[in-house]
Symmetry: C2
Subunit: 647 residues, 2 copies
């Protein structure tokens, strides 16, 4: 049964598993564990004594593999819902002993074939016996090529030394060995195969936070939580350290299933059990890991419910969207509807207009002077409303022009004005701001043309076109905006981009609610635009950035760059999604993601040098990007061949 | 006029150019240099004083760019045959000074556009002003996307410090700067574009041999030979050091054109000229670089003529061929014809059969005992002939079975036997050796089933199938064979593979006469097969190899692996193409080439770890390969999905 109910959580992390020993009475194994509250078992499928080379050759192929159970003893749905296969842990595909290596290859194939026959959802692959894993990866890769649905979870120790076998310690310096690097090379050999995931082994000691953070960009499906990782609380019950608790909470938040592993280290006498009644009534012996399961359930149940906004956005997590083409396409009513609900954003705009009005018109002139304010890109009117509210709040007189190119939105604008009785205050102009011939000049130009990366919806070009009708000392809201990027690791997004099997998708920037992502270094500013802009300089830009990944992170994989923006609306009133300064509770923008065609592995201490260009030509604007350190990538999106925004 | 006639050399390296200063009298520049014996000029196209930002903005676009000449003053064919454009050397596309950077971008585009208008064959791009060249590469890459035929030759100093500008020395430690690395990142940014090549600058000092060697795997089209690189001989004439001579000879051998550059450093009085007559008769002043040109021509002319074999194979240089499918396809007559001409190979076979016969039959039994020798895969009979000659030479009595699966070759075999009168000695068997039911067992099994990589034409499987009819103490010729590989740099082959734009071509091994290749480390043995083979082991193989590139090479790019074989025919008689032990003057095999999907850049001192597998399944055999150090590549050809040999 699930660990508990958490509002909004529909992820697999509600389910908890348990690792079991080889036992040929599978129905009993299953009923014992499920009745004790576990949702699934991770079970060895094949007798651990089995070695292909020991099977007598002269039995005319009549040998039966010593599997734990025939497929008939459990129903198909039980097999697939409640059993995860565990591949024999003795296998060593990179052994220098050819016999052991070949036995391992044969056994691995036999076990996977059996697991497929049973329609298991996943099999756990044991961690490798040596640092070099070329042959293990090759065999797994070959299996993956022919695998229909089953997932393979590669077991990786989170902290190395403790799970290493003694002979492994001989060949690897545990101080130098970073298990993430081992996983990285395995998955590179297997080309980021989408059915290859990670099952982490959690032991008493944990690596540094930034080192741990890398795993949140990886396809971690499960975590083996060893009983020896538990501490003992004052009442003698198992509990986890604060750091372990935080890690487990992170797992719950990233759809990682907990699997309890090991034997009980806490000898709790029946008398001290809180639910003695149940224990008495039942003849079945209580499961020795039940106190651990109870503790994990307790951790799950005390998680905060997902905030409403998160629940709304849940479906967008790590879902790639193509950025809007706001100049070429007209928004639909539903899109306006969604964005208009972002009250935080319009409150910020109202604050900015208030301050601008007060600066522009001293109190003594408030009743005599009318400020001309133009909303360029008025949509269905939210900025018109915010501006009029600001006028009311500050007691300034306002004349508003609402300029909008989308004729469909203009219909709504007209009816809004009638509805609100704003006929004398607001003039609706159905025109592209870049070609409108204004009857007078504006004191204040208000716009909301920003994209996730600031200038990516061509705010600079639009406002350059509109500033003709701004007075020389007039004010633009926003007055400036800056884009930011940071290198990220996100195998989920990389795989989604790759699944299109073309170049164009690797050279496109996507709007995406980042979730399964490791942010590898603090953000840095990219391009800044200020308005009004009376210089003759073009809106082309070029920026070279150098990121330092904290050395305690260890090696890392850069799959691309997450992009954000921050805008100064007016003076100290800002608006943005840059993580350090993000406006709280604003939901109009998800980050942008610039992928890399070939992910870049970065060694500790090696800087990541990246270049971004904003270019224009013909009737379009585009970005190009590349990495030049630690090694040079191709220039992405050369000449805007794959991705561009139309003027 | 060309430097001279060298039998068999049809390459561009016969032509020599000269670098000229900006001069707006192009017809004069051209006639002066061509009449002095140069084949082409490398000429600055645009006034070096020109800067876009200094052009007055108010001339209504009537400004004319200050080019060296209108296209009309020289005929189109002269422009394209005799002029290589030289892009303004002041440009600095990575300058921190935005104005200079933008001026540079504009000028570069204008000059290339002009060169295209003139249909020039190539333009020389100046070397960069700073170690970072991201923006330079981006602009060049963007230009390359739209370039029809013209080549861009990026100028790269062979030895760094001497051509660096002073302000460049500030930013780069000349000791640390390796110009190859700079080129490598430039071309990675431009994705190995096939129209981007290198023009090397040759100065007095030269780097180490292995460092120089890397350039022979790169698309070097020209070498600027500076006058200051010349020494002075006893008679006061310019000459080159031995190392420079060797380098220039290497260029001649790799289609690299020499371009003389700089001013004369040798003041040779007219009286000392050997051709005073010509000098007297002509009013035109003698070209100041003529003595240098004469010396280069002398170096060219004293090159050895290409050996006949090289001339025959010239057309195959760096030309990728798919390996044969000898079991699935039947060879054509022409293919037999070609291979039968390889007398060296059959001489080796004859020597091996001689030794085996003598070992098998003591002299005293020579007249009484008949040896049964079976040629499996007899083709049109060359091994039958070699075996019979060996019998004659050693005075042994021989009974030969010629087993051949190709019915077309069997026709030839029959007529050969009639023609030679071998009816009593040779029995022709039209059958696949793997299913032939032999009427008796053989003393000696002779075969020539080897491919460039030894076992890649499935000799192991064929001989395993044939050894049923070999006596228990019988001899197989060959008795064993081993494959070898070494990492190579070869941008030509990489680009040829890439041009197919699919995965399959990157996962195929090719037979190729390697020429424009840098061999980065000594070969290492991969797989060995011995015959007869009475063990029950399969013919699957796995080998992990670790190559050390000599540290003095510097960084290097591995585009793939060159493969070879060496076979022991019998005892000390071997046959092979492994470079260190290759059988001289044998031409039946070119090397094999295993490409990498993504070339791997290797830092100095970093080992290259590579894995090769030989696998079988269904009715096919295939190789898989991957690199695991310095970073993991994908497993190539998983499951034989792209390339396999049919059984």
């Amino acid at each position: 049964m699930p660990l508990g109910q958490r509002v909004g959580d529909k992820s697999d992390s509600r389910y908890c598993g348990v690792e079991t020993d080889f036992d040929d009475d599978m129905p009993q194994v299953l009923s014992h564990n499920l009745s004790s509250g576990f949702d699934f078992v991770v079970a060895t499928l094949l007798d651990p004594e089995y070695r292909p080379s020991l099977v007598k050759k002269d039995n005319n192929g009549s040998a039966v593999l010593p599997f734990a159970a025939s497929d008939l003893v459990i129903t198909p749905s039980q097999w697939s819902s409640h059993v995860v296969g565990k591949i024999s842990s003795w296998i060593d595909l990179d052994s220098v002993n050819d016999k052991l290596r070949i036995d391992s290859e044969i056994t691995l194939k036999q076990e996977i074939a059996w697991a497929c026959h049973l329609s298991l959802q996943a099999c756990v692959l044991p961690f490798p016996k040596s640092a070099s894993c070329g042959n293990y990866a090759r065999c797994v890769n070959q299996i993956l090529q022919g695998l229909s649905n089953m997932q393979l979870w590669l077991r990786v120790p989170l902290e190395k030394s403790e799970v290493m076998e003694d002979d492994m310690k001989d060949s690897i310096n545990p101080e130098m060995f970073d298990s993430w690097e081992w996983w990285n090379s395995f998955r590179l050999l297997c080309e980021h195969h989408s059915q290859l995931s990670v099952a982490l082994d959690i032991l008493p000691s944990l690596p540094s936070i930034s080192s741990l953070g890398r795993w949140f960009g990886e396809p971690v499906r499960a975590a083996f939580l060893h009983t020896k990782s538990f501490l003992t609380n004052a009442r003698g019950y198992p509990c986890l350290s604060k750091r372990h608790q935080k890690l487990v909470a992170g797992f719950f938040d990233h759809s990682v299933q907990i699997i309890l592993s090991g034997t009980s280290k806490h000898n709790i006498s029946p008398g001290s059990l809180p639910q003695t009644k149940e224990a008495d009534n039942n003849a079945i012996p209580r499961h020795q890991l039940r106190p651990y399961l109870d503790y994990v359930a307790y951790l799950y149940q005390r998680m905060d419910p997902l905030p409403e906004q998160d629940r709304i956005e849940h479906g967008y997590r790590d879902f790639l969207q193509s950025p809007l083409q706001p100049l070429m396409d007209n928004l639909e009513a539903q899109t306006y509807e969604t964005f208009e609900k972002d009250t935080v954003k319009y409150t910020q705009y109202q604050r900015a207009v208030c301050k601008a009005l007060v600066d522009r018109i001293p109190d003594e002139n408030a009743s005599t002077t009318t400020v001309v304010l133009m909303v360029v890109g008025a949509g269905r009117g939210p900025l018109v409303r915010a501006s009029l509210q600001a006028a009311e709040e500050t007691g300034r007189k306002l004349k508003v022009y609402a300029v909008e190119k989308n004729p469909n939105a203009v219909v709504t604008l007209h009816s809004l004005i009638k509805l609100e009785g704003w006929e004398k205050l607001v003039t609706v102009v159905s025109c592209d701001m870049r070609c409108w011939e204004a009857p007078e000049k504006a004191d204040i130009l208000v716009s909301e043309l920003l994209g996730s990366f600031g200038d990516n919806e061509l705010s600079p070009e639009c406002l350059d076109g509109a500033q003709r009708f701004l007075k020389e000392d007039g004010i633009s809201i926003p007055s400036s905006y800056t884009s930011f990027v940071q290198p990220v690791s996100t195998s989920k997004l990389y795989n989604d981009v790759k699944s299109h099997k073309d170049l164009a998708h690797f050279e496109t920037a996507y709007v995406v609610k980042l979730h399964r992502v490791a942010r590898l270094a603090p953000t840095q500013a990219v391009f800044t635009f200020a308005h009004p802009n009376y210089s003759c300089e073009s809106n082309d830009r070029y920026k070279k950035l150098c990121f330092e990944i904290p050395p305690e992170t260890g090696s890392a994989m850069v799959h691309g760059f997450a992009g954000y923006f921050d805008a100064t609306l007016y003076k100290d009133v800002h608006l943005g999604i840059e993580p350090n300064t993000a406006t709280p509770n604003m939901f109009s923008w998800f980050p942008i993601f610039f992928p890399l065609r070939t992910p870049v592995t970065v060694a500790p201490g090696s800087p990541v040098e990246v270049h971004f260009w904003r270019c224009h030509g013909g009737a379009k604007v585009w970005y190009e990007w590349c990495v030049t350190s630690p090694s040079a990538s191709p220039i992405h999106n050369s000449g805007g061949r794959s991705y561009w925004v139309g003027l």
